[in-house]
Amino acid sequence: MTALKEFALHCPISISDYPNVTLAHGGGGKLMHQLIEKMIVPAFDSPIAQQRHDGAVLSVSGAKLAFTTDSYVVRPLFFPGGDIGTLAINGTVNDLAMCGARPLYLSCGFILEEGLPMETLWRVVQSMKNSAAVAGVQLVTGDTKVVDKGKGDGIFINTAGIGVIEHSLTIAPASVRPGDAVLLSGDIGRHGIAIMAVRENLEFESVIESDCAPVASTVQKLLAAGLEVHCLRDLTRGGLGTTLIEIAESSRLHITMDETRIAIREDVNGACEVLGFDPLYLANEGRFVVFVPQEQATAALNILADATDGEFAAQIGTVDDEVPGMVTLKSRIGTSRIVDMLSGEQLPRIC
């Protein structure tokens, strides 16, 4: 009892702020960051967790390993361009890739809801198998639990992954330097709009497919070319905007983006105009940013261009030390504004 009482007294997210967890605490914006920074990281107090990266980089008996985990709770389970199975493999593979690791082994935990059609589970398992083959990883351990009907959303999947780091670079926000070029591996926003279109029955002229894809082989090519990669980060829930703000804050540097260099497909842009969304904050599942010294930007872009959707890869920004922790965007009409982290998920506007 005493322990419980003490915890209540010391809960770092004050009860007057948020007595309950809200969806915004998982939305990839400010509230989620607050939860991680104030409650979770301090509680687990580990210098490795302080790296604030997509995965932990560990030294074990002389080998450098990357270790990461992610849970997948997407609704609907199947969407144009992928399903929860492809996400569960590619998401974790990509987190390992962002540590500069070659992904090797994944674990898989299923939480299934009573009544789930076996056929659905079979389809998900098959697409996990196929995605793992494409990404060159093995699923080596796992767990299955079933919860009462109504206590889950069909399938929840957790995957954890281990990869090996075969270079001496420190790929992390702390390695970003003034003068670095910021490269983006393709067009943005497709996953976010693809999911929303299915979930909300929005019909567009063409089907917008998720960009869900593994990026580890492209990252391996960047490293094999001997490029001095300072930082890598895949764009997931919070989109390009949130990702760059996280890196600017961790590196205490300033990133300037050029709006005209960011590729957004016309149908994605159209959907954003209708819904009042900013594509900078839309989710992606196969895009990442690369920080390299400016003189290596062209070489890196040539490698990015060879990957799927690589024709949209571009240098979208630069790094300097003018205003630590800030991201600014040079707009299409030549003016500048700051890019701020959203509180939670984007909400469709009224009119």
Partner: protein, 371 residues
């Protein structure tokens, strides 16, 4: 993208900015009515392109911002009932009521859903006959036809477990209230393009004549706004006060007659309280007698709600163009999008939120450099 990209073209923007600078001889204060325009102005830094003599003040045209606190409290009371499916446009969920917001109702088990169209709520009502489905009908003239259609269809199809919580407001009475205030400083208006797409702009002629103000029906893209400003400044410098239409690709003088007829049939004009401003006579819509069975306030017996606004929040002054968001002592300190004191900090179209998101450059710069 067709019809968007060409209205964000940098060379044309620079040319318009230069033309505005040439046309401006005297100091002028203009107000853009709509929150969507405010958002564009701040997001694209359009005011940075204007000569110093031009001041842009931001109008009351953010539906989220002007919905009174007690109505949010009523929405929360309805949404908290176990038999209710409460449906709303997304931005309303984060607006703080006296004690909590709709997101918190959802987190504690309320069935609160974000919809894109009120007609979807009628469908939900048909699929869930044992539930009461309520749509939060918020907005200006732009959303009124869709709300009217939902009620009209529910009645036509005999759907009785559907109702709307109405908080509809009208633009022209608000413009008159702003112009007749003793502190009035607005000398020209950029009228809200989408409102005019529905209503046309005939109702602005008497206002332009009575208060001698130019009124330019204006769109939402950077070039629309720059062109609207140029038309307004040109009139002011010429001493004219006319109604002009910049947004010709969407707006006709008479508007959308079919939509207007439906709105007139389902709704009647009523006095409405505007958050931060107070009651304005004949400034809103309520359900007409024929459709009063679909009024959620009556259905759930919600009367006698009063709520106290935060004394710190100056949103009323901001919404009337009397103060800029950054002039509020709470701005960015005790009032942020995570802990908003007033609605203009919540909505994407609210002036305070637009300033907070795009404009804290100097403030943030100072903070970040210090940290």
């Amino acid at each position: 993208m067709k019809y968007v990209t060409e209205y964000r073209e940098p060379t044309a923007a620079a040319e318009y900015a230069a033309a505005i600078a040439r046309a401006t001889k005297n100091p002028w204060t203009l107000m853009e009515i709509c929150g969507g325009q405010t958002h564009s102005i701040v997001k694209y830094g359009i005011d940075e392109l204007l000569p110093k003599q031009i001041t842009l003040v931001h109008g009351p045209g953010c539906p989220v911002c002007v919905t009174p606190l007690e109505l949010i409290d009523k929405a929360i009371a309805i949404a908290s009932r176990p038999e209710v499916i409460f449906c709303s446009f997304g931005d309303m969920l984060r607006v703080p009521g006296s004690e909590k917001d709709l997101f918190q109702v959802k987190a504690s088990g309320g069935d609160v859903r974000i919809l894109y169209s009120p007609l979807d709520a009628v469908e939900i009502a048909k699929q869930n006959p044992e539930k009461e489905v309520v749509f939060f009908a918020v907005g200006f003239e732009t959303t009124a036809p869709a709300h009217a259609m939902s009620v009209f269809r529910a009645k036509q199809e005999g759907v009785q477990n559907f109702s709307i919580l109405v908080s509809h407001v009208l633009v022209p009475p608000a413009m008159e209230a702003i112009l007749s205030s003793p502190d009035a400083r607005v000398q020209g208006f950029l009228a809200a393009g989408h409102v005019c797409a529905i209503m046309g702009f005939e109702e602005y002629y008497p206002i332009a004549a009575k208060y001698h103000v130019p009124i330019i029906v204006t769109g939402f893209e950077p070039l629309d706004i720059l062109q609207g400003i140029l038309m307004c400044i040109t009139q002011l410098e010429d001493g004219r006060a006319e109604v002009e239409n910049q947004y010709t690709r969407s707006v006709r003088r008479e508007g959308n007659r079919t939509a207007q007829q439906l709105v007139r049939r389902v709704f009647k004009v009523v006095p409405r309280k505007w958050r931060g401003v107070g009651e304005i006579p004949a400034s809103g819509l309520g359900l007409a007698a024929e459709f009063s069975d679909y009024d959620a306030e009556t259905k759930f017996g919600l009367t006698g709600y009063t709520a106290e606004e935060s004394p710190e929040c100056i949103s009323g002054l901001v919404l009337q163009g009397l103060k800029k968001p950054a002039e509020c002592p709470a701005f960015g300190s005790s009032c942020t999008p995570e802990r908003p004191l007033g609605a203009p900090m919540v909505s994407g179209e609210g002036a305070c939120s637009a300033y907070y998101r795009y404009r804290r450059y100097e403030q943030q710069r100072a903070e970040k450099v210090k940290a």
